[in-house]
Amino acid sequence: MMTPQDIPLYEEVVNGFNRLSAADALGRESSDLRRTRQSAFERFRESGFPTIKNEDWKYTNIARWLKDEYALGGIPGGSGGAAAYGAVAENVRAAVERARVAELDAYIVLLVNGVWQKEDAGGLPKGVELLTVAEARQDPALSGYFERPADGRERYFAALNTALFSDGLFIRVDAGALPAKPLHIIHVFTADHNLLVQPRHVWVVNRQAELKVIESVVTAGVGTGAEAADDKGQATAKIWVNSLTEIIVHSDAKVDHTVVQTPGERTRLVQHTTVRQKRQSLYNNYNFTFPGADLVRNDLQIRLEEDHTETHLYGLYLAAGQQLVDNHTLVDHQKPACFSNELYKGVLLEQSTGVFNGKVYVHRDAQKTNAFQQNNNLVISKKATIDSKPELEIFADDVKCSHGSTVGQFSEEALFYLRARGISEDTAKGLLINAFAFDVTEKIKTAAVEAHVNQLISQHIPLTHA
């Protein structure tokens, strides 16, 4: 087992935190925020990076990616961040084009390594305000969102983000605002040397407001810069993204949130999202992960802090190569009469590994809870694996809860039926994978986004399956 001292990144973040504390930057931050950072950093120092001995990381061994050195991006004395944008502008533009959703009428918001590129922003809908996190922090009315730790207990990557975050996007939707078009947030990550980027985003959707967001996560030529090439001209630079988003959905508000993750090789993506739902609010999340990144770890935590909320979580992960895709979800039923429904489906190709851990926690006070969860997996190759773990903890007695998990292969009958009509085995498998994914993609309410996701599925299927 690696001790913290063996991990180059551990030393880098300790030094980075010391630099941050010493730098002027902190002088401009409130003492509350400084305390929050300090305590988060202490927690990180205690926990270190997670290993397979930690229950939440049991099936996700990240040791192989922690052997690489990374520079800490976005803090004083560090590197990366906005400055890197100019040098690779062309790659970034190409990445943005890849992320674009055809025929989607949306407000495009571009972030490069977590830094909002304001100059690229068009008009914004009425009632929607966007700020950089740096700006929001200066505003006494908003700084509270950053001064409080997300939950005060987080460890590992979430604590590290809290201690060292620098950039990100703050979104506020006014009470009662009904924007005509969705926001399409395109996150481009790029590096010409090994880099750790830690964006932090806060969305506040006020009472009776509605917000539709599509987030695309892409990389632009990670490791394709001249400096990043080895002596054979092969790209080598790696990027670790440790992102944290907090979403507050106030009473009677509705949020429709789609995430499309298509970062490329040599990307390690750890994405933590905490959603706090208030009375009678609705939150829908659609999460799509495609082949590319070495590691994708999504932590999606839904805190139902008030009664009569509704939550739908839909996920589809398509993993290939040596990829590891891990989805950890938590639906925390704290109050009565909340409804949650979750459907995650996985397709594991080649030598990929999938992890699904879906926890539903029903507190003693949360009577009349309806909580449903389903995880289905299609394991295509003999060398692919899936670890699926549903977890239900129920402390109330008047609830309806169910969960289920399946792991299967192609139906031989269905394959033969398709082949008996002249369809090649590969195409037949592609059709069946698309059919398997259909249960999830059909849930997307925006036709253009659904078409975009279906197109991404066809792009990766069929592959050489074994």
């Binding site: 082949r419 008996a420 009509r421 085995e425 037949a428 059709l431 059919a435």
Partner: protein, 255 residues
């Protein structure tokens, strides 16, 4: 068109076909009848290339080529079509996309360009009408939630779209009410031509009142024990299979 010689096949080590001989010419309709478990559906599966059947002896020549060497998809592209006894439901695969994909692969195999969207639509409309297939079903997921009759009609619709040289109808009449039976038969009769052939596998004579065969064969215990014309089907309807079973046992080679 099709020559089957001394075909032996087994599934999971159990011998099912024990020396089938059958020749089907272009323009002909052959009915294969027989009691349950005689090997009728197995013969259909072996011809279509189902992988859990192992051919242990004999050969099958289709239009001058060795059929048994071909994968199921190549057989289909060469012109063999199996109308399934139990069509599979595949939620999420649209009926029409499935057919478009199948037709494109068959046309590519024949060196023909794919149909454009307009031509495909026209063809689909024409064939729907021909086999009286409900347009609403065309755009639904493949067989999902279809009634038994709708599934069988979908098989005939696919047959009409793909225009195979040899169609094998595996108990297409089972589970059909009399109206559905009439519609399915009418469709098949319209599709009959001097260039194609049909093998109709059925348990009952009923279907053969609508699709009149040129030849009738009785399969029993993995062999064709009697062949004749359509009158044989009537005789079977009247007398059942028992007299043939007895005959077959008398004629069986003794060791």
């Amino acid at each position: 068109m099709l020559i089957i010689k001394n075909l032996h096949a087994e599934v999971e080590g159990k011998q099912i076909l024990k020396g089938i001989n059958l020749t089907v010419g272009a323009g002909e309709v052959h009915a294969i009848m027989g009691p349950n478990g005689s090997g009728k559906s197995s013969l259909a599966s072996v011809l279509a290339g189902k992988e859990n059947y192992e051919v242990t002896e004999g050969e099958v020549i289709f239009q001058g080529k060795n059929l048994l060497e071909m994968s199921p998809e190549v057989r289909a592209r060469e012109g063999v079509f199996l109308a399934f006894q139990y069509p599979i439901e595949i939620p999420g695969v649209s009926n029409i996309n499935f057919l478009k994909t199948a037709l494109a692969e068959i046309r590519t195999h024949k060196g023909l360009p794919p149909l454009d969207a307009k031509e495909f639509l026209r063809l689909s409309k024409e064939k729907q009408k021909l086999v009286e297939f409900d347009a609403k079903l065309v755009n639904r997921s493949l067989n999902e939630g279809f009634s038994g009759g709708e599934k069988k009609r979908n098989e005939i619709f696919q047959l009409a779209m793909l225009e195979p040289a040899l169609s094998i109808l595996d108990e297409t009449d089972s589970g059909l009410d009399i109206d559905a039976l009439r519609i399915v038969s009418k469709g098949v009769n319209k599709l009959r031509s001097a260039n194609n052939a049909f093998i109709i596998i059925t348990h009952y004579q009923r279907l053969l009142e609508y699709i009149v065969p040129d030849f009738v064969h009785v399969l029993y215990n993995g062999r064709i024990v009697k062949s004749g014309t359509k009158e044989l089907a009537l005789e079977l309807e009247e007398k059942g299979y028992d007299w043939l079973k007895e005959e077959a046992h008398e004629n069986a080679p003794t060791i």
